[in-house]
Amino acid sequence: MNFKLGFIATMFMVTSMYAQTIEVCKTCPVTTLKDGISAAKPYDTVVVKKGTYKEYNVLVDKPLTLIGENYPVIDGELKGEVITVVSDSVTVDGLFIINVGNSYTEDYAAIRVKRSKHFVIQNLVLEKLFFGIYIEKSSYGKVYHNKIIGDAVEEYNSGNGIQLWYSHYVDIEHNFVEHVRDGIYLEFSDNCIIKNNVSAENLRYGLHFMFSNDDVYQDNTFENNGAGVAVMFSKKIKMVNNTFKENWGTASYGLLLKEINDSEITGNSFKENTIGINIEGSNRITYKNNNFSNNGWAVKVKGACYTNRFIENNFLYNSFDISYNSKVNDNIFDRNYWSNYTGYDLDKDGIGDVPYRPVKLFSYIVNRTPETIILLRSLFIDIIDFSEKVSPVFTPDNLMDNNPQTKRITW
């Protein structure tokens, strides 16, 4: 009996020496986050109980687990950054952070991770923020299940929801970001995985890549943003099973590709966007098994796009399927389903016997004189489109799908 008790006691001592738990609450010996962190030893756990803590510039400089119980409120009182992590192996979990300071010279964030590894940021709720979660030169971390609700009105004085800067191997999963400038922003960040996030109602982009290579984003939803996703100056990005919808407006895209090479766009669905995909200077990209439905322009190809392949996509009821602004075409369209296809299939092999030309003459006219969009679906326009289809003069004559499917493709 005694032996058993002694054993348990030693075990307890060992574990408590190894990792102690420090509680922070209004009636505890430790009443502030800052005191809690300075009292903690490396690998301790700081538990923050429910309550409101008015603190900012909280520095986490040792490996800690910072856990909030029942979402304690950390109020930055608009004075500056709220939590800054500068140590490896820090976990921040379950806090409700509000009132991050606004500044035109510094990017104050609700939580910033700086030059650290193996961090976990999860279950946070951020409101009234400037920047949300800012990962700076940090790697091998996880940003999981956070909810970020901003109140951004203008682009110039608002920040991004989740921002990565020179950070590699970060997983961003199950986050919900709305009403900020860019929902998720990656700059110089390679090998990141962005999965199952919802990014909506943001001023600029739902997801924004700059100079970031080898990243994967999949199963995300981008809705009603200034533009859904902008991928710029990056290589080898995989975009899989995302949903881009209702990105409406004059410069609104579901997906904007600029200077993107060797990427893969598979299984996405583009619904009711003004422009589904806007491509500029992007080469060697494979578009496969995507659904483009009810967009203004499904795919708008601007200059310098070579050896892209559009294979087995569904183009359903878009006002324009493909739009080009030049006569040169080096892209391949094959085995797609086009709801506007009017050909026939006499041998019943599921492939239309007449090639389909997805570029209409009218889309050139609209490119030149945008006001003519008002004549969309007019009989006269149908007639000139038809004559152009019969003998292409203005549209690239090799731009066609030789094997248009007669049934919608399923995968």
């Binding site: 407006g249 945008p370 006001e371 008002i374 969309l376 006269f380």
Partner: protein
């Protein structure tokens, strides 16, 4: 007037042409649904048909009816009846029977296909409303042409020309104007140009529902106000009503002075 309306209406209901017209729309609806298997796509195709065919049939039918019933009209004129009520009665008889054929002919197959359970019902009802408006407008225009031309051949010629102009040539001229003046701000001009042609007007009305995402791609503020809010819908409907009222007023005016 109501009596004449009733007479014209039932006269047309008995006539072969109404049935042909009705059967045509019935067949069109059935075939479209049978081939497409998709309500929203069928609505788009139907729109193309309606904005071209309804005006054509309205014009031809209106002119034809007027010339055919000319002797009866002269008989009526001998009676103590107001001239405007005779012609308005006839006009409404034709227009209403045509609208009815349209609504029933297209409505029946779509209802059987499960329109009420689909979310295309608003697009579809908008389509029928604009179709009916087009019938009213073009029948009135046809009556105007027939009233002004004693010569049947000339009357038919003008009627077809009118349709051809409004359905095709107008858009061509419109497009040329827009391209010619592309250096200038054009959004007001393009909206006004649309208002001046009932076919374009109904097309825009339907575009507002079907292609709103493409229409919002253009940057003009006036466009945005027009297409982005219910303002466009309201203005278009008012213009359609104006387009009905003006030719009808001319029918009344013309019929009062005409020498038979």
């Amino acid at each position: 007037m109501l009596k004449i309306l009733k007479y014209s209406f039932f006269d047309l209901m008995r006539s072969r042409w109404s049935y042909v017209y009705f059967a045509f729309y019935l067949l069109l609806g059935v075939v479209l649904l049978f081939l497409n298997n998709d309500l929203s796509k069928a609505v788009i195709t139907l729109m193309n048909v309606i904005i071209v065919l309804v005006p054509l049939i309205g014009t031809i039918f209106g002119v034809m009816y007027y010339y055919n019933s000319k002797e009866f009209t002269e008989l009526l004129l001998a009676q103590p009846l107001k001239r405007s009520s005779i012609f308005l009665g006839q006009y409404l008889g034709v227009a209403l029977s045509l609208s009815m054929s349209l609504i029933l002919g297209l409505g029946i197959p779509f209802v059987f296909y499960g329109l009420f359970k689909s979310n295309a019902i608003w697009d579809f009802s908008l389509l029928l409303i604009t179709g009916s408006f087009l019938t009213l407008i073009f029948t009135a225009l046809a009556f105007n042409i027939a009233l002004s031309n004693e010569n049947k051949i000339k009357g038919f010629g003008y009627a077809i020309l009118l349709w051809l102009f409004l359905a095709v040539i107008y858009d061509g001229l419109f497009l040329m104007t827009l391209i010619l003046f592309e250096d200038y701000p054009l959004d007001k001009l393009s909206l006004i140009g649309t208002m001046l042609n009932p076919i374009d007007l109904s097309r825009t009305l339907i575009l507002l529902k079907l292609d709103i995402s493409a229409l919002l791609g253009y940057t003009g503020a006036i466009f945005k106000q027009f297409f982005g809010t219910s303002f466009g819908l309201i203005v278009s409907f008012i213009m359609l009503i104006v387009w009905v009222v003006l030719p009808v007023l001319r029918i009344m005016f013309k019929s009062k002075r005409k020498d038979f």
